[in-house]
């Protein structure tokens, strides 16, 4: 607000306080303003409708059912597990992409981000072909260790990890690239191995980026539908997460679907609020 006073370009309009849709002294062009407002309305309208049509009176009853809590609990457990799994392998992967040179790195990076754009159903089919009972890896897991992944809770975690991890990797890699690699050099001259330098210096420095990536991945995992239903099926209590429960409920009990959706919306808003306070304004 301490900008030096300048003359209004074009000189249309009167005093500087005439409209509220002005930033400083520069008017927002109508060809940009109208589509922007339309876009905003399009994003908000469905959410508002959800609130408007919510069966507020029956809501306590709807949410009291055991299935809802079962699905919510499963969703939270699976999304959190998928996030932890993503952290465990995704952060090192991001480090590899950001800090080392190897042939084909660009290709690897593209492949890592592929699940971002791949339809989740295709991801689910691919997971079945890899880890299914007759899958490339799955057949050995089954015959050697007796491990079956599809249509299990572990399968849900895998499906969610497959879809959510790229968000974490991209976020962490970006943070790593922005972080000064000379801190690692300084640690090295003090006798730290490259791993110690990563653990004791780089990781604390990029913690905000890792946390932001983890939250993104968690939110993505929580909402995961396509890959989950394809790879893990829809068994209440075992693989039926909230999005699956919502979809199923919509077939025979729309009110229940709305109630479930409200719960997911509340969780999402809580996450966004947490993100905003901790990481988004800080960085």
């Amino acid at each position: 607000m301490t900008k030096p006073a300048t003359t209004t370009p074009g000189g249309v309009g009167g005093g500087p306080r005439r409209t509220r849709l002005r930033r400083g002294t520069r008017a927002v062009p109508v060809p940009l303003l109208l589509p922007a407002l339309a876009g905003l309305a399009f994003l908000l309208l469905p959410l508002v409708s959800l609130l408007v049509r919510a069966p507020w009176r029956d809501l306590p009853e709807q949410l009291a059912s055991a299935e809802v809590w079962q699905a919510l609990r499963l969703s939270l457990v699976c999304a959190t597990s998928a996030t932890l799994l993503s952290l465990l392998v995704g952060v090192p992967l991001a480090w590899l992409l950001a800090r080392t040179e190897f042939p084909g790195r660009g290709l690897v990076r593209a492949l890592v981000t592929l699940p971002l754009v791949l339809p989740p159903v295709v991801g689910g089919v691919a997971l079945l072909l890899a880890f299914g009972r007759n899958g490339v890896v799955g057949q050995w897991l089954d015959s050697w260790f007796g491990i079956t992944l599809p249509f299990t809770t572990t399968g849900v975690v895998l499906a969610e990890t497959f879809v959510a991890m790229p968000f974490l990797v991209i976020s962490v890699e970006g943070t790593l690239r922005a972080a000064d690699p000379r801190y690692e050099e300084a640690a090295t001259t003090l006798g730290a191995s490259r791993f110690t330098a990563f653990r004791r210096v780089t990781l604390p420095l990029i913690a905000p980026g890792v946390a932001a990536g983890a939250v993104l991945a968690w939110a993505r995992a929580l909402g995961e539908f396509g890959a989950t239903i394809t790879f893990a099926g829809n068994f209440p209590g075992r693989t039926q997460t909230m999005p699956l429960a919502v979809y199923l409920a919509l077939q025979y009990d729309p009110a229940a679907a709305i109630a479930l959706s409200l719960v997911l919306l509340a969780v999402s808003i809580a996450v966004l609020a947490g993100l905003r306070d901790r990481w988004m304004t800080a960085s």
């Binding site: 801190y183 640690a187 090295t188 001259t189 006798g191 604390p204």
Partner: protein
């Protein structure tokens, strides 16, 4: 080992005493080649002085192991280090902007090195506390780097580097991150700490004052090569390149001496007090130049050139005039004298230097 004859490969000859640093650093980097010879005895502080882009920092990084040597050797106390990874070298580095770990306190920054080299957490912290105390920073032990002043941060960085008990201490532009006011004090403090350091210290700087105050010996690097080496006094008195001459504030010319005259490669001859023959340098300080508006009469053993003022710069109560013409040179005069002469860019002047004020030496 000491009886090898001179025909043995260069790598195998222990040139310097086993103690201290003996290095030839060759680093090829896309069109730029660094090739400097560097030796130093324990307790000696050597400054690598040179303009930006001369390769000083590359040399430092090569010593630390952060850049691999293309060729050459690196012996520290008789042990070859050129294949040793940086974390295993007994080398401490004070980086240009210190690179203190922002998430750790001053104490934990200093304890980092000892911890990495095997000390327990308690030992490492005790050592770190001792180092901070020695640097006069005991009360800042719990402070995060962002809450330290520039001078304090530099001392923490020095303590952090020294806490690993290095046999070679490297300082990259240790004064560059400080403002002019704190420099004086910090420089004096750093000099004290370096004087007390028993192993080899190599510092990189483009500031001749830092180099001359802090170092026992200067190695001047230009375009990846050593162009001159010696004590600060020696280099100030007998500069061998334009860069050094400008650094120490001297007019420097190269030519061929014949008796009391040095005929410059390009330009006039200069009469000198020393008698020499063969390739020679002539140097004189800008304060030795007297300026006149009209040609002075009765010239004895002195030099007189017709010049033109190219530029004027004021510092303190002095004016430095840059002159072009028969001989390009810098002249210092008082602001009063400059005003009386009516100096302005483009003004013609006569520049005179007495032979006794020049200093000629073999090139």
């Amino acid at each position: 080992m000491t009886d090898l004859d001179d025909t043995a490969p260069a790598r195998a000859i222990p040139r310097a005493p086993a103690e201290g640093l003996d290095a030839r650093l060759v680093v090829d980097r896309g069109g730029f080649r660094l090739d400097v010879e560097l030796t130093a005895a324990p307790g000696e502080v050597v400054a690598l002085l040179g303009p930006n882009g001369a390769g000083k920092t590359t040399a430092l990084r090569a010593l630390a192991g952060l850049v691999p040597l293309t060729d050459g050797r690196l012996l520290l106390d008789g042990v070859s280090l050129d294949r040793t990874p940086p974390e295993s070298r007994p080398v401490g580095v004070v980086f240009q902007d210190y690179l203190l770990f922002p998430h750790l306190t001053a104490l934990d920054n200093v304890a980092f090195g000892p911890r990495c080299r095997g000390a327990t957490k308690a030992e490492a912290r005790a050592q770190a506390a001792e180092w901070l105390d020695r640097m006069g920073l005991a009360e800042h032990a719990g402070a995060k780097p962002r809450n330290l002043s520039g001078g304090q941060a530099q001392r923490v960085a020095l303590a952090r580097a020294l806490a690993t008990r290095p046999r070679l201490l490297l300082l990259d532009e240790p004064m560059a991150a400080l403002d002019a006011r704190t420099r004086l004090e910090v420089r004096a403090g750093l000099r004290r700490h370096l004087a007390g350091f028993e192993a080899v210290a190599v510092l990189v700087t483009h500031d001749p004052l830092d180099a001359m105050v802090l170092a026992d010996r200067l190695v001047v690097v230009e375009h990846g090569r050593v162009v001159q080496e010696g004590t600060p006094a020696d280099i100030a008195r007998r500069p061998r390149t334009d860069y050094i001459a400008q650094l120490v504030g001297l007019n420097l010319y190269r030519g061929r001496a014949d008796g009391h005259t040095v005929r410059l490669d390009a330009g006039p001859a200069i009469t000198t007090s020393e008698e020499l023959s063969g390739p020679a340098f002539v140097a004189f300080p800008p304060s030795a130049v007297a300026l006149f508006r009209d040609r002075p009469t009765g010239a004895g053993a002195r030099n007189l050139w017709r010049c033109e003022v190219a530029g004027l710069e004021t510092y303190g109560d002095r004016v430095r005039a840059g002159l072009t013409g028969e001989l390009p040179l810098a002249a210092d005069l008082t602001t009063v004298a400059a005003a009386e002469l009516g100096l302005h860019p483009g003004a013609p002047v006569w520049a005179m230097v007495k032979a006794t004020q020049t200093h000629a030496y073999p090139a």
